[in-house]
Symmetry: C2
């Protein structure tokens, strides 16, 4: 039986299109010593995948031409030569965009607990990489404190919506989202319980942030970079903390990126801007997952999954993140039959 | 007897010129209750004074039109109604650009210790605000650690030269300066003992930094901002710390400031960029002053003072900082007779 895979055909310039990836069929991999064969059930579609397609230095090497697109996912162990896994285990790891993946000593998977009360898509959302990113970004980099005025960009997205809700639950004095379009802004307020949400598409964000946060912004969780980050910098409070999580506005930019003009505010306000990569926290993922699962089960953490059916639609799913066409955590379903008991 | 003062005549656009300030004569101030009258001996000429001339939000309010130019200096108490001061005390504080100043409850001065072995100009340099800024910036914001690769811009300046020497004395694996012109670069290496110094005027700084720091920059002490900061960002090491102390390259800019393009490196390298204002450390100044005086007396801290005679030359002295015409700490001498015993 073949393994359908999506490979990188050529490096994209700007937005990815049909020429960027190819759907190919390869032999199903064979399970070697200390390895397990995983039938992939669901892929997590994350903005960072776009950055790996560029031939540029990053926190991981670029995806090579002809290589399977890198990405995380869940699946079921169907064959195992490793004491780490049993047949039937539902596992999470770097499956890549393909139907069959190997869990190896280099590419270890974690076994997903069953019986928690969360379904697979919810688990991939709130306790997946995007939720964990929100947790460590807000708490460890942002040093969130009760009473903070918190602003979150990409507020309707998988990471932003969780970051804002953790702040809300933790006693922020105000949580303001930034999102694209009135529909998403309504979602951020009504579904995710933010106090306010500003539509960056209607312009004059700097002034509207000043009105929404007249005492200044204590903590900014940045998923977008560029002009929005600049508008926030102009409005930071004393000792503000800016968490640089991603810069989705810049990933498809073909020319010079937007240059930040307001970084002198970091001096005036004795403020800090710090970047991080969630993989650095892998030995503490369980801490975040337990907290996020608990918040979800007791209703403090609202979530929404955007399911897209079929491996062949993974590239289009990735583009949804950049067009803003997604609502919630974007997941590609390869096998609907896999469920957490 | 009159008090000669330099006041702000109009707000400068770009570099200050003859129309920016006026030399005026006012009555010598009278010494009220809890006040002391100070005859000013020496003024500290610092880049931050230029920022106070703009009508822009800052860490202190702008200097008003018609007000004496704000700045720190030393002088001698000649009359006192305050138990804090005795006649003959040499004091340091915000004298402003004038011959006579009042020490008040709102504008307190500190009494300079005599007999330390440091002369007045040296004390205003290494244990003055610029030296103290280097100390807290490097240690508290930059979290300097032995073994760090350290880069300092404005390396021939009063703050930069001290920052690099503290790092050198503290066991940095390499200390690289950035300065303007071959003469200053030679001074940074030969007088201040940096391992290397790059002349930003000869271009291609990004590439030359890569060659000078092939393993990346752990700590960058930034006095200049703009394009130099951008070139450093492109070369930071994992977990780098960027100390934003000043942005002298941007203070005279009339158009939009240089936009930073390489801040995404803060994410890739899990790095931090943080601004500070030394006034926030005022309750710990003595800690820095004792360390800096000790380093100076035992020969670990080289220093150079650029003395300019006469109050009327203070505006030209300030401009020297921006043209790069100064060598070392720039001080304006009003009264040569004042000496530390």
């Amino acid at each position: 039986m073949d393994n359908r895979q999506i490979i990188l055909a050529q490096r994209p310039v700007g937005t990815i299109d049909e020429s960027t990836t190819s759907l190919v069929e390869s032999p199903r991999p064979t399970c070697g010593r200390d390895e397990a064969l995983v039938k992939v059930a669901m892929l997590s579609i994350d903005p960072t995948i776009r950055t790996w397609m560029n031939d540029a230095p990053g926190y991981l090497p670029p995806i090579g031409i002809g290589e399977v697109i890198r990405g995380s996912g869940t699946g079921v162990v169907v064959e195992t030569n490793s004491p780490r896994y049993e047949v039937g285990d539902i596992v999470f790891g770097m499956t890549g965009w393909q139907e069959w993946a190997l869990a190896t000593e280099q590419n270890r998977f974690s076994v997903v607990p069953v019986g928690s009360g969360l379904d697979l898509a919810t688990m991939m959302n709130v306790t997946g990489v995007t939720g964990i990113t929100a947790y460590f970004g807000l708490n460890d980099i942002g040093k969130f404190r009760s009473g903070d005025v918190v602003v979150v960009s990409g507020a309707a997205g998988a990471t932003g919506s969780v970051a804002g809700q953790i702040a809300r639950a933790g006693g922020a004095s105000k949580v303001v989202g930034i999102a694209g379009g009135s529909e998403k802004c309504a979602e951020v307020i009504e579904e995710y319980g933010f106090d306010d949400c500003l539509d960056y598409r209607t312009g004059n964000l700097r002034q509207r942030l000043r009105e929404a946060c007249p005492k200044g912004i204590d903590l900014y969780f940045d998923n977008v970079g560029g002009e929005i980050l600049d508008a926030v910098l102009a409005n930071i409070a004393m000792h503000a903390r800016i968490v640089l999580c991603g810069a989705i506005s810049q990933y498809n930019v073909m020319e010079k990126p937007h240059g930040l003009s307001n970084t002198a505010m970091l001096i005036m306000r004795r403020a800090r801007m710090e970047g991080f990569i969630v993989l650095d926290y892998s030995d503490r993922f369980v801490e975040a997952q337990l907290e996020l699962a608990s918040m979800t089960l007791d209703g403090r953490l609202a979530h929404r999954e955007h399911l897209i059916m079929g491996l062949e639609n993974a590239p289009a799913a990735l583009n949804l993140l950049f067009s803003g066409g997604n609502h919630g955590k974007t997941l590609v379903v390869l096998d609907e039959s896999v469920r957490l008991a």
